[in-house]
Symmetry: C2
Subunit: 114 residues, 2 copies
C-alpha cells in the first residue's frame, strides 16, 4: 500500500467521485432538507401530522402571526412538502404525501437517538 504523501489518493478520489450524486440533485436535496431546517416549519409539519388545518388555526396553534405563518407555508408549498385545498375563503394545508411523514420520523429518530 502506497504511503500517504503530499499527493492525493487519486484512485480512491476517482472511485468516490464516480459514485457522487450530481450537483443538481445535491442542490435539490439540500433545498428539501432546508425546508425542514427551521423550528417554525418543523412545528408546522408536526401540526399537520394530525391532519389538515387552515392558515388561521395553524397560526393559532403555533402562536405565530398570520403573516409569518403564510410566508413559511409558501416555502413548504413551493418545495412540495404541503398541498392546499381551498374552501370558501379558507385555505387548508395538509402534508403532500406520506414520504414527508417518513422523513420527519427518521429525523426524530436521529435526534432522540443521541
Amino acid at each position: 500500500m502506497e504511503p500517504k504523501g503530499t499527493t492525493i489518493d487519486e484512485q480512491a478520489v476517482n472511485r468516490v467521485r464516480a459514485g457522487l450524486i450530481d450537483a443538481l440533485t445535491a442542490t435539490r436535496l439540500a433545498e428539501a432538507f432546508a425546508a425542514l431546517s427551521d423550528p417554525t416549519r418543523v412545528l408546522i409539519i408536526s401540526a399537520l401530522l394530525e391532519g389538515e388545518l387552515c392558515v388561521f388555526d395553524l397560526a393559532a396553534v403555533l402562536g405565530l402571526s398570520q403573516s409569518a405563518t403564510s410566508h413559511q407555508l409558501r416555502i413548504l408549498r413551493h418545495l412540495n412538502l404541503v398541498r392546499t385545498r381551498k374552501e370558501g375563503r379558507l385555505v387548508y394545508y395538509a402534508l403532500d404525501d406520506e414520504h414527508i411523514r417518513d422523513l420527519f420520523q427518521r429525523g426524530l429518530e436521529h435526534v432522540r437517538h443521541r
Copy 2:
C-alpha cells in the same frame, strides 16, 4: 357543524397543540435537517456513503478548498452526522451511523419522486 367565523376553532387548535412536539425537540430537529440543507454538505454525505475519507481527499473529491471542507465537516461533526478517526496526521471522516444513510435516502426519494 358550526360555521367558521372570526374566531378560532379552539377545539381543533387545542387537540393539535397537544400532539405537537415540544419547542426544544423542534429546534434540535431543525438543526439536524439544517445539517443537510447545504449542497456542499449533501455532497460530503454522498461521498461518505462510499466509505471513510480523510479531509484532504474529501476536499479533492468535492473540488473545494481544505478550509471550507473542514468548516463544513465541523458542522456535521457537532450535529453527530459524522465521526472521526485519527491516524497520524490524517483525520478520517465517516458517517456516524446507518440512520444518516436512511435519512439521506428518504430525502432522495422525495426529490426524485416529483
